[in-house]
């Protein structure tokens, strides 16, 4: 090996930390190898220590005075000829590289700069189809940044970075690469898109499920209430119960309805013996609600009638003489007459004996059955809305097939229309449905083991910061701990890693760390990193936009990578609004901003329309083809 790559010699070895005394020659800073210029001693750049037939590889973490070993401080007070190195792995001379080291360097071993040719040997295996190219190594444009999708998917990953550091672009770039039908005809990705950013970027490769969908390019998102388990259903519909007794009454009623439904419409795989309240069997919640409402609030004619009290309910009568019986399907509660116990009046009205104590819960559910925002759960379209006896036209298979078994590899679940009070639970439900379906079907060709699923969780800090109290964080914890075995991989994307539970973060095998300015966030990431890489992580605050340090299992060596952004029309819709466009108005591709004058008739009624409809696309938009 040439003299020109020589940096210095090993002077001190402590674990994987190696102190190197720089040679006089290498201090010039700039060397040429095969016509390529290199700056020697750059923090974060790689070095090589030849030992016999092996090469040890490491990364420079410190250069200059503070890198002097403690024992040398007295001898070399101006010890600027030192650097500290973190060892990473070793390689055979023929180029194969592996993590971990089998032997240590000793005093006097030579330390060399790693040239682009050598880097290429370590990083580059572009001919292997299980590597996807996301960009190129930051200081070497010719070397592609390759990520092993085997490890990326099954060992989970995290993409972290400050707002504007290029996270969404990185996600889009990864998804663009793995949704390529030519190389990966059966890839399978679900994106939980909380702000509706990805529809635009992946429109032609993805199915978009959304509440209040624009039918021309999106599908309506439904999560049938009967697919929820009991805890999830309570969380979304009834809220908390006063005591265990009330809860058990509701539990029994649901169980009974599911049982009746199953008897009438048997379903393969479910039997009466194994049925429990959590089994996803269709039942009619609306009628259950009505029944419970009656039992809780009803009054009855207590004198002079035959039959049970429940047969003599005292409904209020409206001005036209109709009984106000309400409407279970629409969530309209019945109205009852007041209790009457007058001395001279023959008509006596009383509360039903043994009324339930769940009035608050029923009122809450009633209002949810009426509010259109909750329709995606409580009125899940004509297909998944059970009739009173539990009859449905389509079962869960159709729902799951739409999400993970369609002709398109990516499914975007756009959750921007989910009411924020139930967002955590809805995410928890979605993830649990997917997890359970793929877990139990693990031996089938469409199961998780044979067709793994990548779950991309955008803005994960929103629902993973609650110490596993919420449904979402509980199931995510389960996925990151056990998903690997069943082919369910998580990709956690966040700008606030410090708000994500460390247990979840520490299970991520691969990190895409983008610029992170906040020191708490940085600390959290450094603590979770699989490698001992002070040198690289110290660069986190100064990374450029679109630059990421990729480290962990999916890459051979940590790489500082410039991510190639997808084409302009494939970028996610997370760009900041433009306040004042930098180009002149005649060339601007932006119709608004502070530089444009106000229109004469801005029609604020349309603004309110969008708000009320909870849909940014107003009805005025012309849909004519």
């Amino acid at each position: 090996m040439g003299k020109e790559t020589f940096l210095g010699t090993v002077q001190d070895v402590k674990g994987t930390t190696v102190s190197v005394a720089l040679s006089d020659g290498s201090l010039t800073g700039f060397v040429y190898i095969n016509g390529q210029g290199y700056r020697s001693g750059q923090i974060g750049s790689f070095i090589r220590i030849p030992i016999g037939f092996m090469d040890l590889f490491g990364v420079i973490s410190q250069v200059g005075a503070s890198a002097v070993p403690e024992s040398q401080i007295v001898n070399q007070p101006h010890g600027n000829r030192w650097m500290t190195i973190q060892l990473l792995g070793e390689g055979q001379r023929n180029g194969s590289f592996q993590r971990g080291i089998s032997q240590y360097p000793t005093i006097g071993d030579e330390v060399h700069l790693v040239s682009e040719n050598e880097l290429e040997r370590i990083y580059g295996q572009p001919d292997k189809p299980y590597f996807v190219k996301l960009g190129h190594i930051a200081n070497a444009e010719s070397i592609p940044a390759l990520v092993d999708i085997n490890k990326l998917i099954t060992r989970h990953s995290a993409i972290v970075g400050t707002t504007g550091s290029g996270k969404s672009t990185t996600v889009a770039s990864i998804l663009n690469a793995i949704s390529n039908k030519k190389d990966y005809p059966s890839s399978r990705v679900i994106i939980l898109d909380i702000h509706g950013e990805y529809g635009h970027a992946l429109g032609d490769r993805a199915n978009i499920y959304k509440i209040n969908a624009d039918k021309s390019r999106e599908k309506e998102l439904y999560i049938p209430f009967w697919a929820l388990n009991f805890d999830e259903l309570c969380e979304i519909s009834f809220g908390a119960f006063n005591d265990e007794k009330d809860k058990n009454i509701v539990l029994e009623r649901i169980h009974k309805r599911k049982e009746e439904s199953l008897v009438k419409y048997p379903r393969q795989g479910a039997s009466l013996d194994s049925l429990n309240v959590d089994t996803p069997i269709p039942f009619n919640l609306h009628h259950l609600w009505y029944e419970l409402y009656l039992e809780t609030f009803a009054t009855y004619y207590s004198k002079g009638r035959t039959g049970r009290p429940i047969d003599n309910v005292a409904f209020e009568i409206d001005s036209e003489g109709n009984e106000l019986k309400g409407n279970p399907k629409e969530g309209v509660p019945p109205v009852f007459r007041n209790v009457k116990n007058d001395k001279d009046d023959e008509e006596k009205i009383n509360y039903l004996p043994g009324t339930l104590n769940i009035g608050k819960q029923l009122s809450l559910l009633g209002s949810k059955l009426r509010i259109p925002r909750y329709n995606f759960i409580f009125k899940p379209g004509n297909n998944w809305m059970p009739e009173e006896d539990g009859k449905i036209t389509k079962d869960l298979d159709e729902l799951l097939k739409g999400w993970i078994g369609s002709d398109r590899n990516i499914t975007i679940l756009d959750l921007s229309g989910v009411p924020s009070d139930i967002l955590h639970t809805v995410i928890g439900v979605l993830l649990r449905l997917l997890y359970e379906a793929l877990f139990w079907s693990r031996d089938l060709s469409q199961g998780g083991r044979h067709r793994p699923l990548l779950l991309v969780m955008e803005e994960a800090h929103i629902y993973l910061n609650d110490e596993f109290k919420g449904m979402a964080s509980k199931i995510v914890q389960r996925i990151v701990k056990e998903g690997r075995k069943y082919g369910i991989g998580a990709m956690i994307v966040s700008q606030r890693p410090s708000e994500i539970n460390p247990t979840i973060l520490s299970q991520c095998g691969t990190f895409f760390a983008m610029r992170l300015a906040n020191s708490t966030d940085r600390g959290q990431i450094i603590a979770a990193l699989p490698d001992n890489l002070e040198g690289l992580t110290s660069m986190l605050p100064v990374l450029r936009t679109g630059e990421a340090i990729i480290l962990g299992e999916a890459v051979k060596l940590p790489m500082r990578t410039l991510i190639t952004a997808p084409p302009k029309d494939r970028r996610p819709d997370s760009q900041d609004p433009i306040v004042y466009d930098e180009v002149v108005d005649e060339k601007s591709q932006y119709p608004g901003g502070w530089a444009t004058k106000m229109e004469i008739d801005p029609k604020y009624e349309e603004l309110i329309e969008a708000w009320r409809a909870q849909n940014p696309k107003i009805s005025r938009i012309s849909k004519k083809e």
Binding site: D585, E599, I621
Partner: protein, 70 residues
């Protein structure tokens, strides 16, 4: 809405719906907007080959009509 391709440094294509008086502009970056209640005469004018689309848009449409991203 059907749009016709135009030569311009910022506009990709332009369409118009007579019944709802809606002008649809697609910019080169892929973003599509609908301007509401635009007179048909203005559509005819902007489609005139001699007219610079960006300039016409800036002078007569931006800031004069309300719009929505579609």
């Amino acid at each position: 809405m059907k749009r016709d391709h135009v030569e311009s440094s910022n506009v990709e294509s332009i369409g118009y719906d007579t019944s709802t008086r809606t002008l649809e502009i697609a910019f080169l970056n892929g973003a599509v907007y609908q301007y509401f209640d635009v007179p048909e005469a203005m559509y005819t004018e902007i489609m005139n080959p001699g007219i610079s689309k960006g300039e016409y848009l800036s002078r007569n449409i931006k800031g004069s009509f309300r719009y929505s991203k579609v």
